[in-house]
Symmetry: C2
Subunit: 268 residues, 2 copies
């Protein structure tokens, strides 16, 4: 969908992961770049290693199946504390010091991200939530954005029955971007530790500047893409198909270049 | 100040402490009563024993001087996690399930409670914040309230330079009530584990229904009041003097009776 002449105001939805959060210097530098972005913006953050390290001290074992954290009773409390409290509020306080009027949220706050506990089929993921996209109220997000606030979302949703749920941060960013694409011209930016989508995972110079769906299909067939990037790309195409203006994937240390289009991979 | 005929809309600012938070049943019952209150309301919560118990597991020692927690680097991270994350978000999720559109905040969020790190005089309290009342923006609080949201405040503020600060929940409730008394007819309710201000701390039947400043002075002189209640009463009179309509002190298990004036001690 081309919103070039839509007249809608621009909105950046930017996702960062553990690699940014785990290092104080990297995080500070990223937040400085983020706060310098003019206009409306939303930050979605993942968790980072800190949840695992605090979990270890509390004797809460990290369990994974297919790369996904299994969220038992103790683990949901752990991530609610660490993602929703420690990480989220430290980011908010830092953004405030950079003159960015941030407000930290989880999906439970103002019912911003209603979700459903994932059904138990072969795997019981525990307290993991799949967002009920159709129940999101864009007006509540707009209320915050239109009043000069910058939402900072932790990777947590809720089941509307009193339980916090663990939800993938990439998915949250994608869903927020999609839900607000009717109101804004949305750029969705996935930051990670590579320059973009790489044709050779060991060579940063192999980052491609653009990826169309046809490119993706043919690259996928030839097994040229690093498996870790595939869910990000799937999320990206899904967002584009649902009205997001552009999706950019690239390195968190070059946020301004990602945003002005001189670095990163643009998915279109 | 009598706002009886002011025509201002009513606002309840209700504070709960550890005794409510530490027991799931008590908390659920309180939140049910809280969510049943019609109209505008704000909940301020303290911490509870859970911070101490998680701190113990993490080998973070609780230090107190004069009953006040000394907040070193590790302790501010602990309370940011536990108060700002675990306790706050669990309350928000539960209120959402009770059809109360709660939004969890700390003072850093939307810069709702700017504060200053307490100066080191005889005691170094560490990361403890004294709220800069004159810098509070009531419009931001009103934005939330006027759009059907119920703020749930953790006992945390920020120094506007990037640091979260630990701040007494009674003080936060008092300051919020005061700051919004120009816009609303504010009832400030301090919930604790006694029926109200007791003349005999071991006898619940000795709760007094009303306490004027003159009563307080004469009771204070005769040492009849339990020392633990004195800061609450001081906070209460301070709030009244600054425009809050009424302050009620009483048991969290009887919230509806506190609000309709049939139980608790009314400070005036």
């Amino acid at each position: 969908m081309n919103n070039f002449s839509s007249g809608k105001e621009k909105l950046f939805v930017i996702k960062i992961g553990g690699n940014v959060i785990d290092e104080a210097e990297t995080l500070h530098s990223f937040l400085k770049d983020f706060s310098a972005i003019q206009g409306k913006k939303i930050l979605v953050h993942g968790g980072g290693k800190i949840a695992t390290s605090i979990g270890n001290k509390l004797n809460i074992e990290s369990k994974y199946i297919d790369g996904r954290r299994i969220t038992d009773d103790k683990t949901i409390d752990l991530v609610t504390m660490v993602y929703g409290g420690l990480v989220n509020k430290q980011i908010v306080a830092k953004l405030q010091s950079l003159q960015c009027n941030a407000i930290g949220i989880t999906g439970a706050d103002a019912n911003l991200l209603p979700a459903k506990k994932r059904e138990v089929k072969e795997i019981d993921y525990g307290w993991v939530g799949d967002i009920e996209t159709e129940k999101i109220n864009p007006e509540m997000w707009k209320l915050l954005l239109e009043n000069g606030l910058t939402p900072v979302a932790a990777p947590l949703t809720h089941d509307t029955n009193g339980h916090i749920l663990n939800t993938n941060a990439d998915t949250i960013a994608s869903v927020i971007a999609t839900s607000l694409s009717g109101s804004y011209q949305v750029s969705l930016v996935f930051c990670f530790d590579k320059k973009g989508v790489l044709l050779d995972v060991n060579n940063e110079a192999s980052a491609i500047s653009k990826l169309t769906f046809n490119d993706y299909l043919s690259l996928g067939k030839s097994d040229k893409l690093f498996a870790g990037i595939l869910p990000k790309i799937d999320n990206a195409f899904d967002a584009i198909n649902k009205g997001v203006d552009e999706v950019i994937i690239g390195n968190s240390t070059h946020l301004s270049s990602l945003i002005n289009g001189t670095e990163g991979t643009k998915i279109c």
